[in-house]
């Protein structure tokens, strides 16, 4: 059996790093792309797990095309692609509709839904050419999403529109690609994510330190992504919402 090739677009210390570690440990070739691939956490992934780092502004069509070309050349055609970009620019957080800056709203859309479109398009073009695996699947495309995919919060208009656009894209791609052997999944994470810090605690920059598993642990989210990839095509999940057991919703 040939090895899986995974591309994770959007790289940082959370879900992407957990996925990169788990995918590498599971025997996959792993590529991770970020605007700044020299972040220490990504360098650590390269050293410890052989993850290849790529620079990519995923809201630029040519950059995304080049990223996929490079990965194909270096590692082979992808069988698992994770779009993991939040897309919000710093200045758009907690801005009411009357005060939100239109250019920042547009930039958020470009970073989130538009980059998901670009990544999904490149992934689909390549995967359609893949030889089907033993169970007939040509690949898996997973979109990390957020609570805003399910409900629009006050003072979060730009992000709500970006996340719901991403959901619509995922749904449409699923309808088009699943019958052609490509599993598409939308995974809204309805939670704060607390990753393990150097001191062993888990924390989120706004929600504080995790206690009693009240925040999603990205190492376990990665296990769910891997399970989605391994699901048999006779029983594929499309939308999987994840939240901690204590989450109010």
């Amino acid at each position: 059996m040939t090895r899986d090739v995974a591309i994770i677009v959007g790289g940082g210390p959370g879900i992407s790093a957990s996925c990169a570690r788990l995918f590498a440990k599971s025997g996959m070739h792993v590529a991770i792309a970020a605007r700044n691939p020299d972040k220490p956490v990504l360098q650590d992934l390269e050293k410890a797990h052989g993850v290849r780092r790529y620079a990519c502004d995923a809201s630029e069509p040519a950059a995304v095309e080049l990223l996929f070309q490079n990965v194909v050349q270096d590692l082979g055609a992808p069988t698992l692609v994770v779009h993991n970009i939040d897309g919000r620019v710093a200045g758009i957080f907690r801005k009411g509709i009357t005060e939100a800056d239109p250019s920042m709203a547009l930039e958020t859309l470009r970073g989130s839904a538009f980059s998901a479109f670009l990544v999904g398009q490149q992934a689909a073009r390549l995967m359609l050419e893949n030889e089907p695996s033993a169970n007939g699947a040509k690949g898996t495309i997973i979109f990390t999403n957020a609570s805003a995919a399910l409900k629009g919060f006050a003072s979060s208009g730009a992000f709500a529109m970006a996340c719901q656009a991403k959901s619509g894209l995922a749904q449409s791609m699923a309808r088009e690609l699943m019958p052609q052997g490509i599993h598409v999944a939308n995974v809204p994470i309805d939670a704060a994510i607390g990753w393990t810090q150097d001191d062993g605690t888990r924390a989120h920059r706004l929600a504080g330190t995790a206690a009693d598993d009240n925040m999603a642990d990205p190492d376990y989210i990665a296990e769910i992504y891997l399970q989605l990839h391994r699901q048999h095509r006779s029983t594929w999940a499309f939308e999987v919402v994840l939240r901690p057991w204590l989450e109010k919703w």
Binding site: G194, D213, Y220, Q231, S234, W236
Partner: protein
């Protein structure tokens, strides 16, 4: 003492197959179904032939006290119920409103919704006392949309879905993982689809869409996802999941 995986609605499709998969993971499978003692024995024998343990019980989920007494007896005699799989179907085929009797509607509700309420009432206090437990609830397309002729089934399954949400709201923070699993397609299951279609049409369907086409949902593969759901870490639980064959149209596109 092994933890118990209790399955209500254990036919040769999802129920029995999920029980067998959990037995492979070290659970004692308690398989319950309304009728067909021979079929039940075959399922138990199959699990024992794997070198694992199981018990079979005939149980009519509509009868008063049947579920409650079975839960109490299992807890007393076999072990703590850590996982329950509520897998009772309530599909009676398409019937126009005028052909849907009050009795048929009520029976659908008893199997679709009320039985789950009774099961939850029996197991949740025990799970809560232990601080953990998993309720895996098989559900269907009818939980998401009411199709023509589905008055009884859609109402029953819609009720099942909302009950799952309400159970989750009360018990998730007490360590009980409640999952509503939308099986949005036809399952390659002889005891349900097979009986509904009859042997000849079932074989035709398997020939056309099942087998190597993977267009009928395979219980053994569905069971892998049930097992994964039961193993999810509590920091990242899913409450509702939809499953269908890759080639099938989902409920929102029909």
């Amino acid at each position: 003492m092994k933890p118990v995986c209790l399955v209500l609605g254990a036919g040769a499709g999802i129920g029995g197959t999920v029980g067998r998969r959990f037995a492979q993971e070290g659970y004692h499978a308690c398989l319950c179904r309304r009728s067909d003692a021979d079929g039940l024995k075959r399922l138990v024998d199959g699990i024992e032939a794997d070198g694992n343990s199981a018990s079979g019980f005939l149980l009519n989920a509509i009868e008063p006290d049947s579920i409650e007494a079975r839960v109490a007896a299992i807890e007393a005699e076999i072990g703590p119920i850590e996982v329950v799989v509520y897998n009772l179907g309530a599909q009676i085929g398409d019937r126009a409103l005028k052909d849907t009797s009050a009795k048929a509607f009520e029976t659908g509700w008893r199997m679709g919704t009320f039985g789950l309420f009774r099961l939850a009432s029996a197991v949740c206090p025990r799970m809560e006392a232990r601080g953990k437990g998993t309720l895996l609830v098989t559900s269907s397309t009818a939980a998401m949309r009411g199709n023509a002729g589905q008055h009884s089934h859609a109402a029953a399954m819609g009720g099942r879905r909302m009950l799952c949400q309400s159970l989750n709201a009360e018990f998730a923070s007490k360590g009980i993982h409640v999952v509503h699993i939308v099986i949005d397609g036809a399952v390659d299951a002889p005891d349900t689809l097979g009986k509904m279609l009859g042997p000849e049409r079932f074989e035709q369907l398997r020939e056309a869409r099942g087998r190597e086409h993977d267009g009928l949902m395979l219980p053994a593969e569905i069971a892998e996802t049930y097992l994964h759901l039961a193993k999810q870490h509590r920091s990242t639980w899913t409450h509702e999941i939809d499953l269908r064959a890759f080639s099938d149209r989902p409920w929102w596109n029909h």
